[in-house]
Each structure stands twice: as C-alpha cells, then as structure tokens.
Symmetry: C2
Subunit: 335 residues, 2 copies
C-alpha cells in the first residue's frame, strides 16, 4: 500500500483540523452540513480509505468475528460458514476464517492467532479432542459460541441441531420399514454430535423394544474416506449381519455407498442407507439419499446472531444461551 492518505492529508487540504475531519467522516451531529460535504468530497478526491487498524486501536473494537471450522470443504461447514458470513456482513463485521482439519493443535493455534488479531468474538466448531482449549477461552471471559457441537461438561453459548432427536427420527424410520439389524456408523466418540446421534439411535431401538447391540455401533473418521474404509472393513469379510446402516453424516454415507457399489451390494434392497445433514447433493446421489436435514445455513446464521447479540450487551449482562434447532427427516430412496 503506497496510497497512505490519512486524515491529516484531508485536514491540510481543507484547512480544517484532523479532529474535525474525523468527526465529519463519521457523520457526527456537531459538525456543520457544509463542512461535511466539503470533507467528504476532498476525501474521495484524495482517495482516502479509513485505516480500521488505527481506529480499532483506539476504540478497542475490531469489528471482526473469528470463525473456526474443522473442514471448510465439508458442505455442512461451508453451509454454516455462508450463514455466518451473511449475518456478519449485514451487521458490519468481517470474518476471519480458520480451518483446523479436526486437529487440536491447529485449533489452539487458530484461537491464539485470533486473540492476537483482537477479533471481537469467535464462532467455533470444536474438534473436541482437547476441551481445555475451549475452557481456557471461557475462563478468560472471551465471547464465543460453539457451532454444531457442544460439550457435556462445559457451559457455553452454543447453537446445535437436536442430534438425539435426529438420530431417533432416522432410526425409527428404518425400524418402521421393517429393519431389525441396523448399524450405526461413523463419527468419533468424542464428537458430541456423533454421540448424540447414536443416543437417538439407541433410544429408537429401545422404544420399539429392540435390543441395543454394542457391536452394531462402529466409530470411524467423520468423512467420506472414513465411511468408505469402515464399510469395506466390515462388509468385505462378509460376516456382517445387517440390513441397514444409519450413518453419522451424508459424507460418511457417500463413502459407504462407494464401498457398497464396489462390493456389488444393492441399496436399498440389500442394505438400506440413511445419512445425516441433507447436503445439497443428497438428492443427486446414487441412489438419492434418505437423510436428516439440519439446516446448516440457519445454524450459521443463528450462531452469528447469538454472538453479535452478546457483543452488543455489556459483559456483565451476557447470559449463556444454548440454542437447539429442530431436525427434519427427508425420505428419498436409499432407505
């Protein structure tokens, strides 16, 4: 940046004081109408761009929100990101993005970086592999909201989908369709959403008087690759006895689909499949995927709204809020 036009330059040009320029540009009431017009004119004339860094140093407000996700390529998170970005923009905030790749070191590093950059608040999808990181942030009194995942033991602002309910919906649907041997597949057991979806799965089983068999719960990486690998591992031995799989996510389900196709297993005739998230591509899959919609975009919007609402309050008046959004079963043809 060569173009360092400052308030001082405008002041010199107009013969006014720096102070007056500053106030005029921010449209303060105690500046004359004509002065404002003059100043605005000269400012654009000189190509002035206000230095947010400098003003932030004074006002102690960066008007930046930190957003930390575990994988921006995952449609669930990119959907949430879009929601966050939209309301941030609407409310005059910029978004600093960081992708942790589910790595706790990267998560910690991202948080520190954002603290240094003095973001006003953060929206975080925690890896949940090192809760202390989040605890520290909380103890510090720093404003943040957890998005999509929350901790059992840590009270914090959070916006999540009702995962237990969603897990119930999916499983209950499979049972109603006559399935008795249903596998729950995917997600790591420290991820809250995975555990909750599994809890919903278990709940549905028990409500219908079906036994909960621990061996029918298989954890794995919450990704396409994770689903593929686990499905291959389980089914290629040929001894798995099941008629349906409820997957932690659509991504996992896609991995399973790919594996089943390779193994020549028919969906849903031989094995029925239900995913979770309702990503945009779910209807275009082979076959179209039955899944649970979590309204990713809304989740992102809500997270940003909650955070910004908190920021507007004086710290003493901020009360923790946990927002839970309702999921919705979307029946297509994979189950």
């Amino acid at each position: 940046m060569l173009n360092e036009v400052t308030l001082k330059d405008i002041a010199r040009e107009t013969g006014l004081s720096v102070n007056t320029i500053s106030r005029a540009l921010r449209d303060k009431p105690d500046i004359g109408k004509t002065t404002k017009i003059l100043v605005a004119h000269v400012a654009t004339d000189l190509g002035y761009t206000r230095n947010a860094l400098a003003s932030q140093l004074r006002t102690k407000e960066s008007r930046i929100l930190g957003l930390i996700v575990t994988d921006i390529v995952n449609p669930v998170f990119s959907g949430m990101t879009k929601g966050v970005e939209a309301v941030a923009k609407r409310e005059g905030y910029a978004v600093l993005l960081s992708d942790t790749g589910e790595d706790p070191d990267s998560e910690e590093q991202a948080i520190n970086m954002m603290l240094e950059k003095r973001v006003d608040g953060m929206i975080i999808t925690p890896t949940q592999k090192r809760p202390e990181t989040i605890v520290r942030l909380k103890e510090r009194g720093f404003p943040f909201v957890l998005m999509g995942r929350s901790f059992e033991g840590i009270q914090a602002n959070s916006v999540v989908n009702d995962d237990v309910r969603g897990g119930f919906l999916a499983t209950d649907y499979l049972i109603a369709k006559g399935h008795r041997r249903i596998l729950f597949l995917g997600g790591e057991p420290q991820i809250s959403s995975a555990v909750k979806r599994m809890a919903g799965y278990r709940q549905a089983l028990e409500r219908r008087g079906l036994p909960f068999v621990p061996e029918m719960v298989v954890w794995g990486a919450p990704s396409l690759e994770g689903g593929y690998d686990k499905a291959k591992e389980l089914l290629s031995t040929g001894k798995a006895d099941l008629s349906a799989i409820f997957c932690f996510s659509d991504l996992v389900a896609i991995g399973v689909m790919l594996a089943l196709r390779e193994l020549g297993v028919g969906i849903p005739e031989e094995i029925a499949l239900v995913g979770y998230d309702d990503i945009k591509f779910a209807p275009a899959l082979h076959p179209p995927l039955t899944t649970v919609d979590i309204c990713k975009y809304r989740l992102g919007e809500k997270s940003a709204e909650l955070l910004i609402a908190q920021l507007k309050l004086p710290p003493s008046k901020r009360m923790l809020q946990e927002v839970i959004l309702e999921p919705r079963l979307v029946v297509r043809s994979s189950a």
Copy 2:
C-alpha cells in the same frame, strides 16, 4: 476483552523498559538470554497476548490476506479456500473471507472493507460483472491475484485452470464416443472460465470437422439450479435434438441429472453427460460423473503462494504472473 495485559505491565513487573520487553518477546538478537527467559516467563504468567492491531499500525503489515469468493458452498471454491488457508497459515498469514454470491455490489463492498482492514493483499474470484472494480484495485497498486477467473482486457496476477484445454478434452472425448449433437450448457458469458470452456468445446468440434452450431450453446446460472432449470426448459418441450451435454461445471451437471431423472431420460444411454471440476462427490453421483479435474486445492495453494511471493518483494520488483494449471479428463460412467 477485559484481559488487557500490555507490554507496559510486563515492563513494570520485571523492572525493564517496554522496549526491551518488545524486543525480548520477538526474540531479537540483542537481548540477553536470561532476560528473554525472564520476560517470556512473566509474559505467560500475566497472560499476555500481543496486540497485533497495535503492532500492525507501526509496521504497516497486517499479516492478513483477503479472500473473496463467489460462493463458499460451491465445492470448487471451498476447495480453493482450503488451499489458500493452508499456505496462508504456513506462511503466518490469517485469512479474511468474504462471499459475494456473484453479486458485483457485494464484491465492491468486500474489497472496500478489506482495504479498510488493511489486508496485505487479496485473492479474488471476480464476479466479472463489473471489471472496473478490479481495474481500480490494480490502478491503486494494491497487490492481488485473481483465482479461477481472469479478464481478457486486464493484465493481472492470476492462477487459473486451462479452461480451453479442459473444454477441448471433454468435448473431444464425447466426439470420440460417437456423439455428434453435443450441447454446451451453463455459465454466464461474462465469466471467463465459461467462455474458455466453450472455446475449447468449439475447438474440438472444428478439429474433428464437425459444425459449430450456435444454438447448441446455452448459457445459464453457473449453479445446480441453473443446470436444472435450463435442462427442464430445453428438454421438456421434447424438441431438442442432442445426444450429449457438456456442462460448465459439475454443479450444473448435477442439476441436469436431476432434471433428466424427472423426465425419465437415461444417462448415458439417451443423453451422455460430462461435467467440469471433479468435485469430491462426482464418483458417488447417479451415475458417476465423467468430468474434468481442475485441482481446486492446488489452485488455491498456488494463488496464495503467488500472492505471498509478491508481498515479499519490494513493490518495484513485482512482476505480473499468470499461472495456468493443466486439467485432466476423468472418465466415469455418465459418458
């Protein structure tokens, strides 16, 4: 943020000067080993977090890169974003993200916001609906690189896929498979990548001695919805005479797939389909999509690398670079 521990606090605590603290924390060579250890200790003790805003005001380096994409939910852009973020992080930069939704006003607003925030440089996927916005940025001497799209008339740093080549590859493959009536579908004619892919399409036709029929080129929104709408519009009348469609993007192709399925048209028996981008879900589609891989992640990485390399150079030594990455045809079963 209550926790406003500053250098001054550490200085008071250690009895050293603010300056020494500053230098010690930045590990400058002219500070004693023991002093450094002491300072580091007191700093963590007090819970010091350096105020990047303040230091940036002095050094005139924000260590922030602006990233402007047209749709973060599009796997192409989220893939690029991941690449950008990875090298930015590696090189010590943070990423400020903005999503324009292909809207030129939003694009302009995003650029101005980032200018105010004093990002060191920007990586932009331009909407190409208002080239002046980019021209102004260039005239200002501000460092930026265009990612995925470039302007005919504007010399600028850019990292793009060889779209002409990719369009050629896709079309030539279809021709080799015996198709003679091939439709090019999707993308807006101001988007450089769309025009170039079409040029490649045309080139393949002509090289094979096939006529280029203007009516066989149909523009539309570069999205799933755009593909769906156009396909419905074209085929539901039943008078379209074609055996294959080369789509601007995989997203468009998915839209077309959905439309064809509704219309009961078989893929690839009745109409063959080729996409572009090779998004992660392409192999899981119904049927698995034949497409052109553009290495999104690499494109993002390369863009960030190029930008950062420029930033390291003194402004006078910066030379414009246009990087073109090679695409690759990925044959699956939709064509």
